[in-house]
Symmetry: C2
Subunit: 186 residues, 2 copies
């Protein structure tokens, strides 16, 4: 049961965003820029970083919401997301993305955990300053989103079969805040 | 030295916001709403929660930036901020604020650490749903800001005497994103 009185027909963060539309607006804009930009990292890369951090933070709703979005970008194949959840080091992803997931995992622990050698490794694998910036900010943002969702005990739909429909809506229409306030299947 | 090429004349988060103005905009809007709203919690209460979480995350720049803002709201007396940094349980603050700092400290660890009894305790001390929501979101937001600032190794001015001037600017003019891109004393 959520810690505050929210519309329980809305799942996860969407119930919180409907409760406080003033803060929903900048959070939606931030998600839209960080996760749907194609500058350097692709939207699928960005969602993979979000999923990795949410998985490390054990946030069921965000892990499965964003994992479903990665899968949607990959034509419905969940193999890559599941491989990263198991062990990103051996997953079928580029060395550049592995080095950025390493940085994201450090940020999940604390900002100070990111060492110059982590950055050098990412650069050696082709990461630009913008890639590194966006990786750190996506990871930091999911340390916010995961804590927001679980810190207020919002309700995550337990049925994983409901997540792909919502994922397709995000892929098609983005994170506009209009989508947070209307009851939808997921 | 920062991990990416930013304007080192700008301290802390301001150098990062100048590097990526697109994400600076929603982050500035979020800070403005969460930290300067007077609905329920006062701006001083909100900044105290931000300082508490930044202190727990060992983020020198945010701890001292926001601590200086609390002090500014309290007519220049740093006693209360320092007492909370030492031990909020014995600090000269209301039981309501103590119970909200307890929730914020749980959020700093993880969202799931917040228990129903923490919420009940805050309600017993007069906290509303909006107070609880904003406390959780401020704490979660500073888990973002602290990781953003330290995860990219932005430069924090070591001289604490420079923070009050910047704090006064925030108190007078707010977190508008225009202030992030111009070189200023702090």
């Amino acid at each position: 049961m959520p810690h505050i009185k929210v519309d329980e027909k809305l799942p996860g963060i969407r119930s919180l965003m409907a409760f406080r539309p003033e803060t929903a607006e900048p959070l939606g804009v931030l998600a839209e820029i960080l996760l749907r930009s194609s500058e350097g990292l692709s939207p699928a890369d960005r969602e993979l970083i979000a999923t990795h951090v949410s998985h490390l933070n054990d946030c069921f709703y965000c892990d499965h919401s964003h994992g479903a979005i990665v899968t949607c970008y990959l034509d419905g194949d969940p193999g890559l997301v599941n491989a990263v959840r198991e062990n990103y080091i051996t997953a079928p992803i580029s060395d550049k993305i592995k080095s950025l997931l390493q940085i994201a995992g450090k940020v999940q622990k604390s900002g100070k955990s990111v060492l110059p050698e982590d950055i050098e490794n990412a650069r050696k694998n082709g990461a630009t300053d913008m890639d590194i910036h966006d990786t750190v900010l996506i990871a930091a943002a999911f340390c916010l989103f995961n804590r927001y969702v679980d810190g207020l005990a919002s309700v995550a739909p337990p049925d994983l079969s409901t997540y792909p429909l919502r994922a397709q809506q995000i892929v098609d229409h983005g994170y506009g805040t209009h989508i947070f306030s209307k009851p939808q299947p997921v």
